[in-house]
C-alpha cells in the first residue's frame, strides 16, 4: 500500500491524511471499506470460528435453513454457511494476484510503448487492440479450458484477458507526462531513459492506475466466479462461490444453496465499485461531479 500511496501525495496538494478523513465522510466509501474489511478478516480467521468443516458432510442432505444449519446444507450434506465463509479464501487472493500481475505487466508494456514510441509502440498497441477485440469471457474460457481446471489457471487466463487495459491506460498517461517540463529538464541533464521512466514518469501515473485497479478488482472477482460456475475454474469440492452457485443451479428447487454465495459475490463486487468511485471522486479532480 505504501508504494501505491506515494503518487497520491504527488498528485494532490492536500496531505493523504486529510483526504482519508474526507473519504470517511462518504457513506459509499465507508460501506465499501467495511464490507471489504469484513471479508478479509473472514478469510484470515475463519479457521478459528467456523461452525463446521467446509468439506465434510455434517448433516442430512439438502436440509433447508434451520437452527443447526443457518443456511441449510447442500447435496452432500455440507454446511452452506461455512462454505460461503471459506469462499473468501479463494475469490480474494485470486483476484488480488490477477490485479497485481496485470498492473505490473500492463504498466510496464504501456509505459514502454508510450515512452519509446515508434515500432515498439505500434507492436505493443496492436497486440492490445487484438486482445481487446475478443469478448473477454470467450478468451478467458478458451485459455482456461486449454490450461485445464484449477484456480491457478484461472489467474493466468484472466491475466491474458486483462493486461491490455493497463497497457492502454499507462501509454496514455506516459504520453501526457512525457512532454512536461521536468522530463525535458531530466533529458537535458543526461538522465538515462530507463531512469526517467522509472523515477519521473511512473510515479505520476499512479493515481489512475489505483482507481482503475480498484474498480477492476470487483470485475475480476465476478469473472473468476463465472469461470468456476462454467466448470472452467475452481473444481468441486472447493468451497468457491462460483462452484457453489453451480451446485445450486443443479438443484434450484433448493434455493438456499446458491443464495448465500451469490450475495457474497455481489457484496464484494459492490464494495470495490464503491471504493473505486470514491477514490475517483477524491483523487481525480477532472472526474469530480
Amino acid at each position: 500500500m505504501t508504494v501505491a500511496l506515494e503518487p497520491l501525495v504527488a498528485a494532490t496538494n492536500t496531505p493523504v491524511e486529510g483526504r482519508f478523513r474526507q473519504a470517511l465522510r462518504r457513506p459509499q466509501f465507508v460501506f465499501g471499506l467495511s464490507v471489504l474489511a469484513f471479508w478479509i478478516i473472514v478469510a484470515f480467521t475463519v479457521d478459528f470460528w467456523a461452525p463446521y468443516d467446509p468439506l465434510a458432510a455434517v448433516g442430512d442432505r439438502l436440509l433447508s435453513p434451520n437452527a443447526d444449519h443457518f443456511l441449510g446444507t447442500d447435496t452432500l450434506g455440507r454446511d452452506v454457511f461455512t462454505r460461503m465463509l471459506y469462499g473468501a479464501r479463494y475469490s480474494l487472493p485470486t483476484a488480488a494476484s490477477v490485479i497485481i500481475i496485470t498492473v505490473l505487466i500492463g504498466s510496464t508494456l504501456g509505459s514502454i510503448a508510450g515512452f519509446w514510441g515508434g515500432w515498439t509502440d505500434a507492436i505493443i498497441m496492436r497486440i492490445c487492440d487484438v486482445v481487446l477485440a475478443f469478448p473477454p469471457i470467450l478468451l478467458a474460457m478458451a485459455v482456461a479450458a486449454a490450461l485445464g481446471p484449477g484456480l491457478r489457471n484461472t489467474v493466468i487466463a484472466l491475466i491474458v484477458v486483462w493486461w491490455p487495459i493497463y497497457a492502454r491506460l499507462l501509454r496514455g498517461q506516459t504520453l501526457a507526462i512525457k512532454n512536461r517540463d521536468h522530463i525535458e529538464a531530466a533529458v537535458s541533464v543526461g538522465v538515462p531513459r530507463g531512469r526517467i521512466l522509472r523515477r519521473h514518469i511512473l510515479p505520476l501515473a499512479g493515481t489512475p492506475v489505483l482507481i482503475n485497479a480498484t474498480m477492476d478488482f470487483g470485475q475480476v472477482v465476478l469473472l473468476t466466479a463465472s469461470l468456476s460456475f462454467l466448470g472452467l475454474g475452481a473444481v468441486p469440492p472447493t468451497p468457491e462461490w462460483g462452484v457453489m452457485i453451480d451446485e445450486g443451479a443443479r438443484n434450484f428447487f433448493q434455493w438456499w444453496i446458491a443464495l448465500a454465495p451469490g450475495i457474497a459475490i455481489l457484496s464484494v463486487v459492490m464494495a470495490f465499485n464503491f471504493l473505486g468511485d470514491s477514490l475517483r471522486d477524491l483523487l481525480d479532480p477532472r472526474g469530480r461531479s
Binding site: 477485440a133 470467450l138 478458451a142 452457485i245 451469490g262 463486487v269
Partner: protein, 337 residues
Amino acid sequence: MARFVLKRLAIAPFLLIGIVTIAFLVSRLIPADPLISIVGERNMGNPEVVAAAKAEWGLDQSLAGQYLSYMTNLAQGDLGTSFRTKSSVSQDLLDRLPATAELTITALVFGALLGILLGVTAAVRRDGLPDHLARLFALTGSSIPVFWLGLIVLSIFYARLGWLPGPGRLPPRTDAPPDVTGLFTVDSLIAGDFGLFWATLERLILPAFVLGWGLTGIVSRLVRAAMLDELFSDYVRTARAKGLTERAVMFRHVLRNALLPVVTILGLSFGSLLTGAVLTETIFSWNGIGSYAVDSTRGLDYPAINGVCILGGIIFLLTSLVTDVLYAVVDPKIRLS
C-alpha cells in the same frame, strides 16, 4: 464521414487476422490433448486409432502447417469441422445464432425501454419509487453475477410461484415453428400460431430480464442525469410557457436531448451483453452461441472455440463501428476524422 468509415473498415481485416491468430495459438500451444475429445479416453491407448484420427483432423502437421491450412480454409469461409458435433462449425454457428440474437435483442430493447422509462420518471419525481428502483438497478447492475440472478428469478417465478415457464426456448414436447428467420417468436407469428407465439415469448421474459438488468441500470442513470441537466434550460421554460403539457415537454423536448449518451452505451454494452449471454444461456438451457461456446470449451473442441471467437470479434468490430457512426449522426457537433 465516409473516409472515417472506410478507414475503420480497412483496419478491421487486420484485427480479424489478429483475433484468428491468437485464437489459433491459444488452442494449439497448450498441454491438454484435443485427441482425447475426438477418439475418447478409451481409445487413447490404441496407436492405430490415434494415428488415423491425427491424420483425419490434420493434427499430424506442423504448427505452421496447421495454421496455414486453417487460414486458407478460413479465407474460403470454412471454419473447419467441430471435434464434438462432427459437423461444420460455420453451420453450427448459423444454426445457433438466431437463438442468441433473439435473446440479446430482446434484452437490449427491454433494458433500454425500462431504463428510459425509469430514468425519465426518476428525473421528474426525484426520490419517488421509480427513482429508488433505478438506483437499485444501477447499484447492482455491474456487480450482480448474472448466472446467480438467473437462478434466483427462476427459483422465484418458476419453482416457487409458477408464474413463468422454466428454462428452454420451447415448451417440452413442442416442435419449433417452420424455420424462416430462426427467431421462434417471429416464426410462430408468420406461421399464424398465436399459442406458440405466446409460449415462446413467455420463455423469453426471464432470460431477457436477467440479461438486460445491467443495461437497465446504466441507461436509467444516464437518462436521469441527462434529463436533470436539461430540465432547467431555456428551451424547456419556453416549451412550458407555450402551454405544452408536461408530458409533451418531457418526451418531445427533454428526452430527445437526453438520449444521446444512451446511443453510445447501447453500442458499447453489446460486448458485455455477449458475455452475459454466455452465462444466461447456460442457466436457461438456451441453445445459442453462448451455450455452444461453453460446451465447446468444456469438450476442448478447438475448431468450434475458434469459430465462436471469430464470430465474437466480428460482432464486436461491427458494433463499435456502427456506434461511432450512429453517434455522429445523432450529434451533429461531432465530426469524425
